[in-house]
C-alpha cells in the first residue's frame, strides 16, 4: 500500500479510537466490518469513516467492507505503536505510578526505561519492574540511555526547572500532565498535554449549567 505523505491532525486524533476498536474486533475474531457498522458503533457517520480511511490509502472494498486485521495493523503502524521509543517518567506520585504501570503493561509504543523522583520516601520504590531513581541522576542516566520522550507527572511548581534540564539534555518530546506550557516556551518540542484540571472544570461548568436549566 502506498502511504500518503500527510494526514491531518483531526484524523490522527481519531486514529487511536479506530485502532482500539478494531483491535477489540480482531481479538474477538471479526474479520470484516463495513463503514456503516463501524460508524454506528463508534458514533461517527459512515462517510466520515470512509473519508478518514481514505487519508491513508483506503482498504475498503465496495460491498465487502474493511479487513479488520489488516486495517488494525496498518493503523497501528501509522501510529507507531510497535516502535518502543525509549522514555522516562519524572514524578512518581500516585499519578506517575498509574501512568508508569499502564505504559509498562499495556502499551508497546513507548518503552519506559527510567522513573525519577526527588522525594526520599519514593526513591527506591519498585514500580512496574523499575526502581525509582533520584532526580539528581537524570542527566547522567539520559546521557547513557538516550531516551526520546519524557512523561511529566511533577507538581506545577517543579515542572519549569525539570523541563529546562530535560530540554538541555536534548529531550524534545513530552507527555505533559502539568499546566506548564512547554510548546510556548520551546516551539521545537512535540507536546501532548493532559490537563486533568481543565477537563474537570469543563465538566463542572456543564453540571452547573444543567442544574440551572433543570
Amino acid at each position: 500500500m502506498q502511504k500518503k505523505p500527510y494526514i491531518s491532525m483531526p484524523v490522527i486524533r481519531r486514529l487511536p479510537r479506530y485502532y482500539r476498536f478494531l483491535r477489540h474486533l480482531d481479538k474477538r475474531g471479526v474479520t470484516r466490518i463495513s463503514s456503516k457498522e463501524l460508524s454506528e458503533k463508534m458514533g461517527f457517520t459512515a462517510s466520515q469513516v470512509r473519508q478518514d480511511f481514505n487519508c491513508f490509502g483506503g482498504y475498503g472494498q465496495q460491498g465487502y467492507g474493511y479487513g479488520v486485521h489488516q486495517l488494525c495493523e496498518e493503523i497501528g503502524s501509522i501510529l507507531g505503536v510497535d516502535r518502543a521509543h525509549k522514555c522516562i517518567l519524572i514524578g512518581a506520585g500516585n499519578l506517575g505510578k498509574a501512568i508508569a504501570t499502564h505504559i509498562s503493561y499495556n502499551f508497546a509504543g513507548f518503552d519506559l526505561i527510567g522513573i525519577f523522583d526527588n522525594s526520599e520516601q519514593v526513591v527506591g520504590q519498585q514500580i512496574a519492574d523499575l526502581r525509582v531513581l533520584p532526580a539528581a541522576g537524570i542527566r547522567r542516566f539520559c546521557s547513557e540511555n538516550a531516551p526520546l520522550m519524557a512523561i511529566l507527572c511533577v507538581p506545577d511548581s517543579a515542572v519549569k526547572s525539570v523541563v529546562e534540564l530535560l530540554y538541555d539534555i536534548g529531550i524534545k518530546s513530552y507527555w505533559n500532565f502539568s499546566h506548564y506550557d512547554i510548546a510556548l516556551r520551546y516551539p521545537d518540542t512535540i507536546v501532548e498535554n493532559v490537563h486533568l484540571n481543565d477537563s474537570m472544570m469543563t465538566l463542572c461548568y456543564r453540571v452547573t449549567e444543567n442544574e440551572k436549566s433543570s
Copy 2:
C-alpha cells in the same frame, strides 16, 4: 453584569485556562492586565482574548485592561468551581487515588463524598480523608447521599456494568477515564472523557513521524 445566555463550547474549554492563569496573577498581587499581555503569556491572540471575554460580558476598559480579581471570580463562578457538587469515585487503583487526592485538596467545584472499589485489598484503605467502601454498597450509599456526578477509574472490562448501575440510580454526569462511550449509550448524560491511551498514541504518532523526517 448581565450574563449572556449562551457561551460556545470552544470558549468554555478555554475558560479553565484563563481561570488558572488569572488566579495565579491574583495570588501574586497583580490587579490589572491587558488583553495583549494576557494573550502573549497564554499563546492566544489579543483579539481572541477580547472576543472570549466579551462572550460573558466583557470587563475590559479601553486602555486600562481587565481587573484580575474580578475577572477571575467571574470566570470561577461561570465554571461553577464554587458549588461543591457531590460526587463519588469508582475504582481506587493508582489513578483513582491520584484523582481522589487531587479533587479533595485542590478543587472546590466537586465534593468527593465516597470512594468505591471491589478489591478486598483496597476496601478500607484511607484516601484523602475517606475510607474506600465496597462496590456492593454503591446503590445504598447513593440513595442516602444523592451524589450528582461519578468519576470512573475502573478497568474497561468493568465499566459497562458500573455505568448501568449508576445510570439506573440516577447519576447522569460522569468524569470518565475508561474507553466506554457513555454518551453514545446514554444520550442524556453529561460526560467528560479523559482518554489517556488516545493521547499517548497521538504522541507516539508524532514522535514516530518526527523521527522519520529527521
